[in-house]
């Protein structure tokens, strides 16, 4: 046994010869996590990853009972919730983990934005991150329709109608999304395909790229910390930081289990295309700030329909967000950039304020 490395057994050696574990071990040991007063923000990416894995696992489980058609979707979810053992738990976890994941994505995004972690050479990491956020929202939007209940039906109607507002190609996009002129069973199967096949494939590719880049460039040190020489040293990623990460994962799991157990996902009424939109119809909370903005826009702004202005505004805003690493020249040079810090804070305040209004402003006045 003298030939074996200390701490590594035969299996490890066998695998190492075949797939090169030693190289991976080196890569893992190479990574150092800088320790400073903003280190806590480094946990959010890992937590998002954990929640994504939960989504993959519970999503696959849901596929075993779900039936993607307008006639059967609602009933199959009802069956799952009422008859299948722990069906309610799997579905509730899927729905809560989705919400928590979008929440951690937002936190991750804003921490990266405020700590300027998008600075060179991490532009591509930022771009892939924004794309992943868009995909997560796409998951949310397409998944929301699948139980085929009243709220989902009208939310999808409004959501897809909004794409129809885009000048020029809007009506074409709307038809492409809906699989026809109206939201019908064809829309349901389309969203299902997007939700369980298209988005997961794209997400896996982008996630691979994103994680590879994070590994390649290491953790970004906020320029402000760097300037003030605020680093208190480093911590090896493996195993020290990873173990702390795991504590984060476990707390996320605990929160998830508690939410799913005490506030299980609801099903509501089956969608009826010939019923009035229900009072209090709302999108998922992460679309609320946009929904509320559209509500406040008047019917016409300078002769253009209000929602066209709104939708174009969101498009421009999204593009701006995407291009921040290229626009923020001061951060790229390592100088303080008050302007982009201000933009980040303004964005957070805007989203929080409109979301708050969305839930408190009276729906009927």
């Amino acid at each position: 046994m003298g030939t074996l490395d200390k701490g590594h057994g035969r299996l490890w050696l066998w695998l190492d010869e075949r797939i090169g574990l030693a190289g991976l071990e080196k890569l893992a040991k190479k990574k150092e996590v800088p320790v400073h007063r903003h280190t806590v923000w480094y946990y959010l990416g890992g937590m998002t990853l954990f929640l994504f894995l939960v989504q993959v696992a519970t999503g696959i489980l849901l596929l075993f009972y779900y039936r993607p058609s307008a006639e059967e979707a609602y009933e199959s979810v009802q069956f799952l919730m009422a008859e299948v053992e722990f069906g309610w738990l799997i579905r509730s976890i899927h729905s809560w983990a989705a919400n928590l994941m979008i929440f951690t994505i937002f936190l991750h995004l804003f921490s990266v934005l405020l700590l300027k972690a998008y600075r060179p050479p991490r532009e591509v990491t930022w771009l892939s991150g924004i794309a992943l956020m868009a995909i997560a929202m796409g998951f949310g939007f397409t998944g929301y329709l699948l139980p085929w209940n009243e709220l989902a039906y009208f939310a999808t109607k409004v959501g897809t109608e909004i794409t129809g507002v885009v000048p020029g190609i809007g009506p074409f996009l709307r038809r492409l999304l809906r699989g026809g002129d109206e939201v019908t069973g064809a829309t349901l199967t389309r969203f299902y395909g997007i939700h369980v096949a298209v988005l997961p494939a794209v997400a896996a590719l982008l996630l691979g790229l994103h994680l590879f880049l994070v590994q390649k460039h290491g953790m970004s040190v906020p320029p402000a910390v760097e300037r003030r020489a605020g680093i208190r040293g480093t911590m090896p990623f493996f195993p020290n930081f990873l173990l702390r990460d795991l504590v984060g994962w476990l707390s996320a799991l605990a929160a998830l289990a508690a939410l799913a157990a005490y506030l299980p996902a609801e099903l509501g009424q089956k969608a009826d295309p010939f019923a009035s939109a229900p009072v209090g119809i709302k999108p998922e909370w992460y679309f609320m700030f946009m929904f509320q903005t559209l509500k406040y826009l008047p019917a016409r702004i300078l002769g253009i329909e209000g929602e066209i202005v709104g939708v174009l505004g969101f498009g421009v805003g999204g593009l701006f967000l995407l291009l921040i690493p290229f626009l923020d020249r001061r951060t790229a040079r390592g100088e303080p950039s008050r302007l982009f810090t201000g933009i980040g804070i303004a964005l957070i305040l805007y989203m929080v304020a409109l979301t708050y209004l969305g839930y408190t402003a009276s729906a009927t006045r």
């Binding site: 038809r175 002129d181 064809a186 019923a275 509500k295 019917a299 016409r300």
Partner: protein, 151 residues
């Protein structure tokens, strides 16, 4: 001689690159075009129905109420005004296509999605809807209600 060899070598490489590029492009197009067309749903014939007879009796529609009916594959709304008149409109909100409803407490038509209000002639009077609701013609013949698209 050496010149000529290099030259022909370059043209050959150029030709091969051009050839490869073109075939790759043609291959991509021949894949993308059918897939693109496949994704666009075929047009289904709009139901041409210009007139529907409702399965409701006129006397069953009380004043200051409204109800949804099917007009082809879209919803319509039938309203009896507080004054007792029957009116019908498309129930598709002109804002973002939600289905509107009658609000007896306000005595007018209302859209729950973004709080759009329409008066009893279908005019958009408050909220985001940019246009009035399409009005239909209502005829109460005996104990039948017939709704048709306006002339």
């Amino acid at each position: 001689m050496a010149e000529a060899v290099r030259h022909s070598g370059e043209t050959r490489r150029g030709f091969l690159n051009w050839f490869l590029g073109t075939s790759a492009g043609a291959f991509l197009l021949s894949v993308l075009y059918p897939v693109g067309r496949y994704l666009i749903p075929p047009a289904v014939g709009e139901s041409a129905a210009g007139t529907v007879t409702l399965p409701i009796k006129p006397e069953d529609v009380k004043p200051n109420t409204g109800q949804i009916f099917k007009f082809g594959n879209r919803p319509g709304i039938l309203v009896r005004t507080p004054a007792g008149e029957l009116r019908a409109f498309s129930a598709v909100c002109t804002h973002l296509n939600c289905t509107v409803q009658y609000r007896p407490d306000l005595s007018h038509i209302w859209c729950a999605c973004h709080n759009g209000h329409f008066d009893l002639t279908g005019r958009n009077i408050a909220g985001p809807p940019p246009r009035p609701l399409d009005a239909f013609v209502v005829n109460a013949r005996g104990n039948q209600i017939v709704v048709s698209k306006g002339a």
